[in-house]
Amino acid sequence: MISCTEFIPAYSELFKFLEAQGGRRAVDDFWKYLADGFLGNLKSAVEQHGLRGCWIYWSHTLNEEAADFTMELDEDAGQFRIILHHCPSKARLIELKHVEPYHDYCRHCDVLYRHVLEPLGYRFTIDRSRCDEAHCTATITAQAGGEEH
């Protein structure tokens, strides 16, 4: 059995495997498949609660992942933000001395969440400039004419 605590290296190795099969395109195709099939709870939370759906979704996942984070919801400004001071996934990969992380590991968040949120009328941006330190900031903004509640 592969423990859920061992999932992140399994995920990173899967990206390498896919890239070896069909290049970057194969990895991106998988991320979109995963967003469609696995992030239905994020999609339905946002459809039901607007930006607050992001708060609900990430309150669950970031706490279970024992992340070091600050999460901000400003419904008046139409903005939700996550500052990952220490991303638990990337930090685990960096700590593993015998496994080389997939070279573009952190891009999966950008592709997955953008793929779910942009069709719902939200703009997703992520600052990955410090992702080699397991630090990033994601901002989700309700676009004018979007579906914010």
């Binding site: 059995m1 992140i8 399994a10 190795e13 498949y33 279970e64 992942e65 901000e72 400004a77 015998h98």
Partner: protein, 155 residues
């Protein structure tokens, strides 16, 4: 409306996000659909040979007790009824219901058709090039109930 802020440090929570089982299962199903059955096994073999390399070394050095310690820790963390029977040359692990499969069924995540390979292929890969081998004596796809056997294959 007031701006809401949540601040958490890593030590505030235990690291146990069992929904990850669903994501791994989705990955296996994707490989199966897109690249075929053998791709699932090749990926799991490659992952296990890389990630569990320190465990394989420990099995080589210390024998089956290293595997017993590893799996006791995994099942104790994930939950579930498990029995271990260890002798010098054999380790049997009897799992009443795989905690990963139980979680996915409870949450409504699809369980990949080849999910059993996360036990069968991974166990074989861990033992590869050690004096031990692994076999999956029983596996129930619905619950993940299994009997896993590790045994000495050469001295």
């Amino acid at each position: 409306m007031v701006k809401q802020v949540m601040r958490r440090a890593a030590g505030d929570n235990e690291y146990l996000h069992q929904d990850f089982h669903g994501a791994l299962s989705a990955g296996l199903e994707y490989l199966h659909e897109k690249y075929g059955e053998e791709a699932v096994r090749r990926y799991l073999w490659q992952f296990a040979r890389t990630f569990y390399a320190p465990l394989t070394e420990a099995v080589e050095r210390r024998g089956l007790v290293a595997l017993e310690e590893h799996f006791r820790e995994v099942y104790s963390l994930e939950g579930g009824e498990v029995r271990f029977v260890l002798s010098e040359d054999e380790l049997r692990i009897e799992v009443d219901a795989c905690p990963a499969v139980t979680h996915m069924r409870r949450r409504g995540y699809p369980v990949a058709r080849l999910y059993r390979e996360t036990t069968e292929t991974v166990n074989r890969a861990i033992c590869h090039q050690t004096p031990f081998a692994a076999e999956l004596l029983q596996y129930d796809d619905e619950t993940g109930r299994s009997i896993q056997r590790f045994y000495r294959s050469r001295s």
